[in-house]
Amino acid sequence: MMLETPRLRLVPLDARHIPAYQAFLASPRAAALGWAAMPHEAWRNFAAMMGHGLLRGFAPFALEAREDGRALGLCGPFWPEGQAEREVKWHIWPDADEGKGFAFEAARAVLGHVFGVMGWETAVSYIAHGNERSAALARRLGAVQDGTWVTPRGTEVRVFRHGRGVVA
């Protein structure tokens, strides 16, 4: 399963994407979002996301730049046990690739896929208080804030609900 956009290839998560993911979780940007993780913790999260795909039949895609194949981040459907609703999530990993519209481009393709191909009736994105960059992207995608959700770890996050018709 693979999706393509003008600048991106959305491909299954693979071991070759792990170093960029580990670098992201070691970055000040991840620390500011409360996501800082040691390389082995990042590896563990990555294994869990790959296993999510095997258990659920879907998982976030890795984003690769069509121009040179570099790993840019991830975007895709995510619904681990204990999470209230089916989510579309996104991260851009390298600092240098933030602010270029890659997450918007990927999320539009993914929303079209989850609604148009996977048959989801609704989708949310959980966004931390203070993560205004992601909140702005959710709004730009047509999502509206629909209350909050407290994770099993006790963290309150904002729920942004995507509209079926907006991007299909």
Partner: protein, 168 residues
């Protein structure tokens, strides 16, 4: 990759399923899971199942999930996440199914598969000194005590080394 399906005399060794996930989640909710880092809540236990599936995708091997007559009874196989120095032969049988030789039966099949198919071995098993049933399994498998390992949350842990060749 996903696990092959192997058979021992009484057990099927295969990939994770939702029935296996539910049985593991129930096990992790109890104090009986202390030797594998439990108790753990539903979310973390499911993530453990996802990681086990992700290990197969990343390493090409991992834990098999065990069924007896179609009923989940535990898991056994080679556990080798990124942060471990070497692959471990590990087994867990849920309390209701202990005392029947299932762990020995499954670990033997998993070990011989790992030796023959992956070229691994001699494998190690890391066993809490308080886990008498598991120590008996290691002894039945012909493993020898090699020395102390890093403690697991304050519990002393010993390193057991399995025989190099396939047992007669």
């Amino acid at each position: 990759m996903t696990p092959p399906v192997l058979h021992s005399q009484r057990l099927t060794l295969g990939p994770a399923s939702s029935a296996h996930a539910e049985a593991f989640i129930a096990f992790c909710a109890t104090e009986d899971s202390r030797f594998i880092g439990g108790p753990a809540d539903r979310r973390d236990a499911w993530e453990g199942v996802a990681i086990s599936a992700g290990l197969w995708a990343l390493r090409g091997f991992g834990p098999f999930w065990l069924s007896a007559g179609g009923v989940p009874v535990g898991r056994a196989g080679v556990y080798y996440p990124d942060w471990r120095a070497e692959p471990e032969l590990a087994w867990t049988i849920y309390p209701a199914y202990q005392g029947r030789g299932y762990a020995t039966e499954a670990a033997l099949v998993a070990r011989d598969w790992a030796y023959a198919t992956l070229g691994l071995g001699p494998l190690v098993s890391l066993i809490d000194t308080g886990n008498a049933p598991s120590i008996r399994v290691a002894q039945k498998l012909g493993a020898v005590l090699e020395g102390p390992h890093e403690p697991n949350g304050g519990h002393p842990v010993m390193r057991w080394r399995h025989p190099a060749g396939v047992a007669a």
